[in-house]
Symmetry: C2
Subunit: 260 residues, 2 copies
């Protein structure tokens, strides 16, 4: 049973937690949470330890609520409120994130609609058709995070390549295997002279694998180079899977130079 404290103390206008929570449309527990995270410390405190909030706290809380509504994590909101990171940049990034999420959502909605149609006739839905949709979208996400490294031209060319050669998991497995064997072979040849025919053969295999992705296009190649140069900033999940021995990399670079 909720009994609100109706007492209007006009002057300092302090609120106890329940009143304050109702005012902003959040729960008491959320306020506790924000307090412990340091996001919103109440500006006052009764001698019994009660949290006492004022109008200035309300303004801050409303900012928090808005930023949360935009999908920002609380840690970032904290940095924003402490002016440790610029609002404008954060919003721009978040806009991209949300746009991507929206695409996923739309795809899912379309997929469900498709499923319901295919189920009206037959009892079982068309699992195979979905598989393709899902793969399509997930592949798109994989490319999405690296998109910024490529010029508009390179992106268009990549899209064309993808049409001609769809990126199946079988192909993925094959390519992964090719790369790992090549990397192992190069590692075994680290002692050789980069100009040696053996090293040159390795460099040639390397070039062929890269061309398998770039299609031999120099624009795409430039984007790829930018991407690897920025390896430090990759999403951590992906960075691990593409760890590569620096010595190997250096060896190949030398071999490439020697052949040109």
């Amino acid at each position: 049973m909720i009994v609100l404290e109706g007492g209007l103390k006009q002057k300092p206008m302090v609120y106890r937690i329940q009143e304050f929570a109702a005012l902003a449309g959040v729960t008491i527990r959320a306020l506790h949470h924000y307090d412990r995270l340091g996001l919103l410390k109440p500006s006052g405190c009764s001698n019994a330890g009660y949290r006492l909030y004022r109008d200035c706290d309300l303004a801050r809380l409303e900012q928090i609520v808005v930023l949360k509504f935009l999908g920002l994590p609380l840690k970032q909101i904290g940095r924003l409120l402490k002016r440790e990171s610029p609002l404008a940049d954060t919003l721009r990034r978040q806009q991209l994130v949300l746009a991507e999420k929206r695409q996923q959502l739309d795809a899912a909605i379309v997929a469900i609609a498709h499923a319901e149609r295919s189920m009206q006739s037959g009892r079982e839905p068309d699992w195979d058709a979905f598989k393709k949709i899902v793969r399509e979208i997930e592949m798109q996400n994989n490319t999405e995070w690296g998109r910024k490294y490529y010029s508009a031209e390179a992106q268009a060319k990549l899209a064309e390549l993808k049409k001609k050669q769809p990126w199946t998991p079988e192909l993925q497995a094959q390519v992964t295997k090719d790369w790992t064997t090549l990397l192992a072979d190069v590692e075994a040849a680290l002692g050789e002279d980069p100009a040696d025919p053996k090293a040159q053969a390795l460099a040639a295999r390397w070039r062929k694998l890269v061309d398998g992705f770039t299609g031999g296009d120099p624009e795409i190649q430039k984007g790829l180079n930018r991407m690897w140069a920025d390896k430090a900033n990759w999403p951590k999940g992906d960075a691990k899977r593409f760890q590569i021995n620096p010595a190997v990399q250096e060896f190949i670079v030398k071999a490439m130079k020697a052949s040109s």
Copy 2:
């Protein structure tokens, strides 16, 4: 460094976990997880305790991936795969959920765009404007879950009412207070005769508060009745806030009848 097992054993086509995970585009850890949840038990097991997967497992996993893509929680996916709940219904519900999420996303995207425009000129964004947007959407969500109880006509009338009388948190506080005091007063009068003038006065107050929400419209009233009749199925978070003493409810019903 990843070294794939290239051995193609054509006949039974068993996969070890890494190979299988790559095939479906999920992580090994996810497979462990699904195994423990009972979502996908590998159909085989080597004598060393290695999980061994076959093509039938792949089909099941792909279904899991698709359903996960549609935003379904793993528990529900489990029930669906065990045929404990019907796929068609679940998909229909999920479609609504996704549509709602999409609205939120769109609102957030629009809000960010709005913010960037308002920041280009002035340094600070227009916090007040957002507050309204966010409240609008969150209020909408509050009404969304109860929408199913109202006829199309009632929904239209509710929308009109909301325009004439926007639902501010101040109003919310006032209404909450009115209800709680009324409930307390009724509880204190439980011993009285429902036909007594005192009880009738309480019933009148009750009617006035209800009319404050329905606008006196009988269509809306009917929807409200349906909603309370289905109280058991409310979202648990909300159900708790509207707990009401059954004796009080009974008393008011009797008083209403006595006055008619």
